[in-house]
Structures are given as structure tokens and as C-alpha cells.
């Protein structure tokens, strides 16, 4: 046979692989996600002081977790897949936090509104 022609076996009497998520779970997650979308729009209309951003992000994270855990099968998968994903998030946070830390520290040196090539 030609090498690697098939990425997975087919028509082979082997043990089935992967986990089948029940339809009820999928539908429930779907409903929850839509509800949370409505919630985040509604919350955006209310001034929550300095926590606006935090709350919006918290809702988004919650929604994302549902997608990850059920739609993306993370709950049923090998933990290694989750570890890979979480590692990526950690590196991302590291990147953002150090870049933020520095840009905040040097922000006072910036000349406000400096953009000589812009048509005003």
C-alpha cells in the first residue's frame, strides 16, 4: 500500500475510538451559549464601574469553556490534549502580561497623539 494513504483506519474490525457526546448535552450547551450571549449584551448596557471588562471576559471565558469541554470533547479526551491547550494559554498570558507591564511603564514617555503621517 502507499504509505500513510489513510489517516485512520476504515472498515477495519477494531475497537471504535473516541467518545460520542449525547445529543441532549449538545443541545443544552447550545442553549446555554445563546443565553450567555444575551446576558453579555444585556450586561454591557449596565455600568458596573470598573468591573465592566472583567465581567465581559468572565462570561466569554465561561462560554469558551462550554465549547471546549463539550463541543470539543475535552471532557472526554486524553488529558494531554487539554494540557497542550492550557500550555498555549499560559504562554499567551505570559506574553501579554510582560508586554503590558512594560508598555505601561514606558507609556508616560510617549508623545501624546504623535502620528505625523496621519491626515488630521
Amino acid at each position: 500500500m502507499s504509505e500513510g494513504k489513510h489517516d485512520a483506519q476504515r472498515g477495519v474490525a477494531a475497537t471504535p475510538v473516541g467518545h460520542v457526546v449525547p445529543f441532549k448535552v449538545l443541545a443544552a450547551v447550545w442553549g446555554t451559549l445563546l443565553a450567555f450571549t444575551a446576558l453579555t449584551v444585556a450586561v454591557a448596557g449596565v455600568d458596573l464601574g470598573r468591573f465592566n471588562l472583567e465581567i465581559a471576559l468572565a462570561i466569554a471565558t465561561l462560554k469558551a469553556s462550554f465549547v471546549l469541554l463539550y463541543f470539543m470533547h475535552m471532557r472526554y479526551d486524553r488529558p494531554m490534549n487539554a494540557i497542550v491547550f492550557i500550555t498555549a494559554l499560559l504562554f499567551f498570558m505570559l506574553f501579554v502580561s510582560l508586554a503590558l507591564l512594560d508598555s505601561h511603564a514606558y507609556a508616560p514617555d510617549l508623545i501624546p497623539g504623535y502620528a505625523p503621517a496621519l491626515p488630521q
Binding site: 505570559l94 512594560d102 511603564a105 497623539g113 503621517a117 496621519l118
Partner: protein, 566 residues
């Protein structure tokens, strides 16, 4: 070596001997098509080797031109200032993106990794081939910029210079973007291979250390390269559309570009050095005929380096306008990343202690590595110390430090690994004497070239300078002489290896006495690597092998009480 019997015992050896005459991966399928569309990791590795060494040659030619110009401090008939600027940019870009980043993982790694795993191939052979062609595409696009307006930004593409220069930055950047994907896919393939294809008996802590090095590298390739990708995309958008994120003239922040760029490009130097350290770990054990000392510390230090390397990118920005606070954090972490490297060096030394040291060509490269990487690493301490960094930043001191680590570390280890696995790749032994002469000339030439640059740099010579004050001319002349010596050394290495392809003595299965799995199949290996799936033992149990003069290589010792089973 005394008393090497060059006759090979042709019959009755079975698997594990020279397979030049019979079926091996080189003869398995003939014709150009069988190479261009191959999914065999060994062939892909060889194709990588060819294109990567060609890039090395190209980058080397640029380097020689640069060094020749620098013989005199003023204008030169050889090239004007703009050409000079394009030369050093191309030298940097070709050497870094085309040669040294893919060098060890894609060429040597591709060939050796499945063999070390006792596997038939990498996890995704088609993605492996795709990765190779992405490399070719990226290289063609990037080098295409030479014709359409060679880039003069330096390999770092700092904004706003890169957004305002009139050279073809977009082509170069797009090429590097594609190369980045090649790198990502190689890393992805290796991680999955190491996770899923390890043979029976090979637990994580019985993996050869080269695999640990490759694994650390692959993590970096996966986690850092995408950030380079987005940086380059934004740079393209900046030039093509005037997007205004990095260009201060449009309200953007050029320092942010540097954060983006170095978030990749600092880990990138560890992409280059980690597999090199892995090679050294293999070689030092085999050529000392001794189990590696402190296996777990070396393995953990690879991962420690991989993780810490993400935390130190700011040390490229100590004088760039980064805040004092960030400078402090990054300086501290920079010193911390020195520790695992030091640990490795001490472990390699301890491995040599009471060993039986064979000064074959690969071992000469190991010694060379310890010497040069020692200097490269220690000069990192100067650059990590903030106050001293201010003086040395952007001078020839940095150039020298970088070359001591990248050439003295990575390229030397690459050459060592190449000489080590050459018999396995092609089934031929190269001339040992010329191999040693080459190694020696490379060592001498390299030190002459770059040690002078340390002195020049600390005296205050800025890098990337077409003109320089005449006070520095003696250093430059010496450095150029060294560069020529280095070039001669590399030519000798190349000729010696090329010569062996045609005239070399047929190599035995295990010419050096390595205990890792690749030495348990014939040289060169068959298409499927192993006739039967091997069971992995301790990869550093080199003492289980003994030299057999009749085949000029090593054979497994018989269990006590029986005669050697050759």
C-alpha cells in the same frame, strides 16, 4: 584507533550490517519522483540536508563578502553602503531562517528521530513532506527578494525602518512567514511522534537525550513561531496597507514590535541550541564509552531551558526604550536561564571523567563545542548584567557572543552530529584524518574570527557598520583572516564528506559503539527502518557493546559466559 580491520564479513551477518549492496532506503524506489514525493522521513531528512547545506553555503558567501569589505574602514570597491546593508541582512536572514533554525531538527532530526524511537516513520509523514515543501516555497520567496530589491533592514526587521525603506521587505517577510509554518509543522510532527510512537520499553526517562532536546525545541517551535507569524503579517499589513500598529508615524508603537519580534526570536535561539545540546549529550557518552552522567538533570534542564527561554526576550531591549522595571525582570530571568546550560556542561565533563575517550572526528567537535559554547555562554553573563549591557549592546561584542553560541554551539554540534550519523545515512565512512584536520581548522579559524570581535566590541565598535573608525582596522583584518581560515576548514569538511560518498569504506552498522536504537539496524537502514520492531533498553548502555576488529565496528557483547555473538 589501532588495528581496524577493513574487511567486512559479507555473509551470515543478518540484520545490523552494511546494506549498501542490498535493499536500503536509498535504493528503495528509484528515479527523481521517488524522491520528490517520498514520505520516508529518511529521504525527507536528506533532502532537507541538501537544501539546508546549500543555504549555509549561500549565507557563508555573504559572510565572506562582508568580511572582505571590512578589511578597510572606508569606502570599498567591492560594495557600497547599501549593498553592504543588504549583505548583512541576507547573511543574517539566510543563516537564521533558512539554515540554523531548521538545521538540526529538520535535517538530522528528521533522519534520526524515528530511528531513535525504533519507529517506522514520524507520526504524520505527509505533513512532514508538506513541511519540506513549505520550506522550499518560503526559501524561494525570501530569496526572490534579492532580485526584486534585496532587503536592507537587518534580519530583525525593526519598525519603523522596515516600514519606510524602499527595498522589498514584503517578499522577505512573506518568505519567512511561510518558513515559520514549515517550522511549526516539523515541531508538531516531532511532539506527536515522541508522545505516541515510543516503542516498548522506552519510558520518558529512557529516551535518548537528543530526543529531549528535540522535544524542547518542538515546544518552542509550536509556542513561539505563531507569534512571529502574526508579527510578520502585521508588518506586511503595515507596509502594504499602512495599518498603523507598529509605525509611530501612524500612531503605532515601535517598541511593541520589538516585544512581538523577540517573543519569538529569543526562544528561536534555543530552537537552535537545544537540539545541539542533545547531540552533544549523545556523542559525549558514546565517545567516552560511558553512561551519560546525570541523565535526569540533563533531561530536565532541556525543558527548563525551553520554558525559561520564553521569559527572557526583553534582554534584547535593555537599551531600546524598555522600562526599567521590565529591564530588571528580564535581566534576572536571563541569569536564571544560564543555570541549566551550566548544569549540562558540568554533566558532560563528568561523563568524560574516567571514560575511555576516543578522539574521533565527532568527539573533536564535542571538545570544540565545550570550548566555544563555554565562551559563548560566559560572555552571556556580561550581556545579562544591565549596566554592562548598556555599553556592549549593539556592538561587535554581541555579534561575537551570538556567533560563539550559534556557530560555536549549534553549527559545531551540527557538524559533530553530521559526522556521527554520516555512516548511518550513507553507509560509508569518511576519511578520519581529513575529518580531524577539518575540525581543527574550523576551530582555529572560528576563534580567530570572533574572539577579536569581543575585544573590538568592548572597545566600542558598533555593529552593522559599513564605515568604521580606523582604530579598529587591525581587529577587522585579523577577523577576516580568521574567516578565510574558517572557510577553508569548512571546504575541507565538505570535500571529505562528499568524497566518502564515492570512495568511503563501507560502514558497519555500529561504527562508534552507540547504544541507541539507530545503531541496531543496518547502515544505511532499510526503508522500514527495522526488520522487526526493536525493544528499547537503556540508551546509554554503551558498555554492552564491544569493538570487533573484523568488521571495524561495534557488536553487542554476549551474555556472560558465551563468546561474542558476531
Amino acid at each position: 584507533m589501532a588495528n581496524i580491520d577493513t574487511t567486512t564479513d559479507a555473509g551470515g551477518r543478518g540484520a545490523g550490517q552494511n546494506a549498501l549492496g542490498g535493499d536500503n532506503y536509498l535504493t528503495h524506489g528509484r528515479g527523481l519522483k521517488s524522491w520528490l514525493f517520498t514520505l520516508d522521513h529518511k529521504r525527507i531528512g536528506l533532502m532537507y540536508l541538501v537544501v539546508i547545506l546549500s543555504s549555509f553555503l549561500l549565507g557563508g558567501i555573504f559572510a565572506m563578502l562582508i568580511r572582505t569589505k571590512l578589511l578597510s574602514p572606508g569606502n570599498s570597491a567591492l560594495m557600497d553602503a547599501n549593498t553592504y546593508n543588504q549583505m548583512f541582512t541576507l547573511h543574517g536572514a539566510v543563516m537564521i531562517f533558512l539554515f540554523i533554525i531548521p538545521g538540526i531538527p529538520a535535517a538530522l532530526g528528521n533522519f534520526v528521530l524515528p530511528l531513535l524511537l525504533g519507529a517506522k516513520d514520524v507520526a504524520f509523514p505527509r505533513i512532514n513532506l508538506l513541511s519540506f515543501y513549505l520550506w522550499v516555497t518560503g526559501a524561494l520567496i525570501a530569496l526572490g527578494s534579492i532580485v526584486t530589491g534585496a532587503v536592507d533592514t537587518g534580519w530583525t526587521f525593526y519598525t519603523p525602518y522596515s516600514t519606510t525603506t524602499n527595498t522589498n521587505v514584503i517578499a522577505m517577510v512573506a518568505g519567512v512567514f511561510v518558513l515559520g509554518f514549515s517550522s511549526i509543522f516539523t515541531g508538531l510532527n516531532f511532539v506527536v511522534s515522541i508522545h505516541k510512537l515510543r516503542p516498548q520499553g522506552m519510558t520518558w526517562f529512557r529516551m535518548p537525550l537528543f530526543l529531549w532536546g528535540i522535544y524542547g525545541t518542538a515546544i518552542l517551535q509550536i509556542m513561539a513561531t505563531p507569534v512571529l507569524g502574526i508579527t510578520l503579517l502585521l508588518l506586511i499589513a503595515e507596509r502594504a496597507l499602512g495599518i498603523g500598529i507598529f509605525d509611530p508615524a501612524l500612531g503605532g508603537d515601535p517598541i511593541l514590535f520589538q516585544h512581538f519580534f523577540w517573543f519569538y526570536s529569543h526562544p528561536a535561539v534555543y530552537i537552535m541550541i537545544l537540539p545541539a545540546m542533545g547531540i552533544i549529550s549523545e556523542l559525549v557518552s558514546v565517545f567516552s564509552r560511558k553512561h551519560i552522567f546525570g541523565y535526569t538533570f540533563i533531561a530536565y534542564s532541556s525543558i527548563a531551558i525551553a520554558v525559561l527561554s520564553f521569559l527572557v526576550w526583553g534582554h534584547h531591549m535593555f537599551v531600546s526604550g524598555q522600562s526599567l522595571l521590565a529591564g530588571m525582570i528580564f535581566s534576572f530571568l536571563t541569569f536564571m536561564v544560564a543555570i541549566p546550560s551550566a548544569v549540562k556542561v558540568f554533566n558532560w565533563l563528568a561523563t568524560m571523567y574516567k571514560g575511555s575517550i576516543w578522539l574521533a572526528t565527532p568527539m573533536l567537535y564535542v571538545l570544540s563545542f565545550l570550548f566555544l559554547f563555554g565562551i559563548g555562554g560566559l560572555t552571556g553573563l556580561f550581556l545579562g548584567a544591565l549596566a554592562v549591557n548598556v555599553h556592549l549592546h549593539d556592538t561587535y561584542f554581541v555579534v561575537a557572543h551570538f556567533h560563539y553560541v550559534m556557530f560555536g554551539g549549534t553549527v559545531i554540534a551540527f557538524l559533530g552530529g553530521l559526522h556521527y550519523w554520516w555512516p548511518k545515512m550513507f553507509g560509508r565512512m569518511y576519511n578520519e584524518l581529513w575529518g580531524r584536520v577539518g575540525a581543527l581548522l574550523v576551530f582555529v579559524g572560528f576563534n580567530t574570527t570572533f574572539f577579536t570581535q569581543f575585544v573590538m566590541g568592548s572597545q566600542g565598535a558598533p555593529r552593522r557598520s559599513y564605515h568604521y573608525v580606523s582604530q579598529f582596522q587591525p581587529y577587522h583584518v585579523l577577523s577576516t583572516i580568521g574567516a578565510y581560515t574558517l572557510a577553508i576548514g569548512l571546504v575541507i569538511v565538505a570535500v571529505n564528506l562528499a568524497h566518502s560518498l564515492f570512495r568511503g569504506r563501507p560502514a558497519p552498522a555500529n561504527p562508534w559503539g552507540g547504544a541507541t536504537l539507530e545503531w541496531q539496524t543496518s547502515s544505511p537502514p532499510p526503508h522500514d527502518n527495522f526488520p522487526t520492531t526493536p525493544v528499547a533498553g537503556d540508551p546509554y548502555d554503551v558498555e554492552a557493546w564491544t569493538y570487533d576488529g573484523r568488521i571495524g565496528g561495534f557488536v553487542k557483547k554476549a551474555p556472560a559466559g558465551q563468546p561474542a555473538a558476531s
